[in-house]
Subunit: 395 residues, 2 copies
């Protein structure tokens, strides 16, 4: 009895997610009632696509009663140096509320600013290197323009520093958005490449929290499988016709639910695919989602013994593979996953993205060693040496 | 295109659930850090079972640093007159924080007190009859001792008034618990009858939010099915051995997720089974969960045409019925549901509970007419006349 409990009991957990989600058609106008009266707002956005697709105009109309300063140009993989310029504006102009209008990069950048705005230490870069959770940040809301990362309903962020080619994570209870507006109509004007990235990102988020070992968390498993099944169902339709509201709305809600904390509660999580993938983005500028699709199949193959029970469960419940041994089902599950990415148009080998891939495995392994990242994965037993082998398999 | 959107697009929704869930083994002691310092606490509980199973002692130990007044004796179906005694204590003793230690009845009663403590109107009964949402209540936390109603993570409550045999609902954003402690170890000492009621209650909660018509909310459907599948999986094991932590923890988490708002977002909901079931409790004192099991099969049979697509989907995905027409699958789904309740030991006919059942249908129909409840169900088209037929079918 004791043994069984030890092996597969749900972990203790805490769950508190105070973000208010406003979901649906034509909801951007609701901004007007969500921003605090008398706020001085810094409106943050990315490369300017919101000025072409009508979102900027909707936002500005909704904000007509508050004072707004703008800061555009936050790039994919939000860049520290650029964010420091925004931080200066926050301080100089006495900004009291941040509004991110964009995808995960703009929202993550805004989370960094939320933390940095109230940070008392020497340099805000320490927020990223010190691993200290942010208890209180400047309040911020989001208008999501690109479903993918789930950043709109969680308290984490990833920030890039170009000069050192580093990509580091931060977070804390103070970094949940006060509100997030999710209007699936924005999906109509998203380029196919980014739709595909969004689907892949959300899919891999679920896998990171699910593809470990059986842990007795039956409901969490089924919720994770629900998101995977729904993403598989909607993926081809959203890509073919992003104006299909039913498919688009499910896509958007899947992305949020994939990383708002719910499915990770009480279960072991992996996140090695992200840890390794971030390096590929930092080194070669490969789209985040694509780095995940490159690493995931190799990671699951390399760690087959540790993950085969969950791989087989995934094969059965998500891909309807009812025949074969656990091992056979598990192998098919990896193949199905890789095929799913490929059919979305995503290459799953590093050599398709760069000719300079040789030496990448050793380089990433060395970086992990230097940072002291000595135990990755759900068992915290993957050494830099293992990472080297996984990356090599992904060449 | 327009037609399709109209028929099956996800509804717009808002989601904000600020309750902090503390879930797991030996978590009751965490009370000590969740109650505000310098609070004056009214500890509310039910019939006293917590004094036999050790929970009372754990709570008192955790509360040793704050001032605590006690109020026990809140009955199943929390009774207005008794709660009014507690309200007097809150006012006389300058209570600042309420702590519910119990199941749905104690928590619902505490929600009424949270609202009534700050209510400015003539008589607190008006909170129930006026249908005005409570925007702000006295803060309260809960220690859940009986998984069933989901009240620990939502903002609704149902209160009974004995003298008028009425059972009325209330709620509002001000009535989310500040925190809820869910320790699955409490399940070990729950009598079988109440375990069975809890499973049935949670199962029916999901059905009320799911068994309507296809609405294009693919992810919400799959989440609902996940809870149903998990409840079916754990039910016999929890009843056989409530000390099995894995089964107990999944049972507890299912009950919370069944009614914390998540699965109802964006979808049509029914709730006719509850509306009718409450009358059976008010009239005959039948356990809440059992009234749902009495009404649900008749309700689904009576409204077969309107619900057959979802019944068939439920048959396929939850009960693995892969053969047959939509109608055939849908009929099997109703049978499977009734059998599930029966195998838990729950009778699904009113005549098994009372000899005085004749005239019940007419009486309930009359009450609904008097209250102006003229349109029940997801299409708001069930008249008192239909209710009369449904109840008659359940004799």
């Amino acid at each position: 009895m004791k043994k069984r409990i030890k092996e597969k009991a749900m972990n203790n957990f805490e769950l508190k997610n105070p973000t208010k989600i406003i979901f649906g058609k034509d909801t951007i106008k609701k901004l007007s009632t969500e921003i605090p009266e008398k706020a001085k707002v810094l409106l943050l956005y990315g490369g300017g696509s919101i000025k072409k697709n009508g979102i900027y105009e909707q936002v500005k109309t909704a904000l007509s009663n508050v004072e707004v300063v703008e800061f555009g140009g936050i790039p994919a993989n939000p860049e520290y140096a650029i964010l420091m310029d925004a931080l200066q504006i926050i301080k100089e102009q006495d900004i009291t509320f941040l509004l991110a209008v964009g995808g995960g990069s703009v929202i993550d950048g805004t989370k960094f600013l939320s933390s940095a705005a109230l940070y008392k230490g020497d340099t805000p870069w320490d927020i990223l290197t010190s691993n200290t959770p942010t208890k209180k940040g400047m309040p911020f809301g989001t208008v999501l323009t690109l479903p993918a990362t789930g950043s709109e309903m969680n308290s984490g962020a990833v920030i890039t520093r170009k000069e050192t080619k580093e990509k580091l994570a931060m977070g804390g209870v103070g970094l949940f958005p006060v509100f997030s507006i999710l209007d699936p109509l924005v999906i109509q004007s998203i380029p196919k490449r980014q739709l595909v990235n969004g689907i892949t990102d959300a899919f891999t988020h679920v896998l990171e929290q699910y593809m470990t070992y059986p842990s007795g968390a039956y409901l969490q498993d089924r919720f994770a499988e629900s998101i995977l099944q729904t993403l598989i169902q909607i993926a081809p339709k959203v890509i073919e016709d992003p104006t299909n509201y039913t498919e688009a709305s499910n896509f958007m809600w899947c992305c949020t639910m994939a990383l708002n904390g719910l499915i990770q509660k009480g279960v072991p999580t992996d996140w090695a695919v992200h840890a390794i993938g971030h390096e590929l983005t930092a080194l070669y500028g490969i789209d985040h989602a694509r780095t995940l699709a490159i690493i995931a199949p190799s990671h699951y193959t390399y760690n087959f013994e540790a993950k085969k029970e969950k791989l087989a469960q995934y094969a059965e419940r998500v891909w309807n593979i009812t025949e074969g041994t656990i091992e056979e089902k598990a192998h098919i599950a990896i193949e199905k996953t890789e095929t799913f990415f490929n059919e979305l148009g995503i290459d799953t080998k590093l050599s398709k993205y760069t000719n300079n891939y040789k030496g990448t495995a050793e380089l990433i392994s060395k970086r992990f060693t230097e940072r002291g990242w000595l135990g990755l994965g759900e068992h915290k037993n993957l050494a830099p040496n293992d990472v080297e082998k996984i990356v090599t398999m992904a060449y």
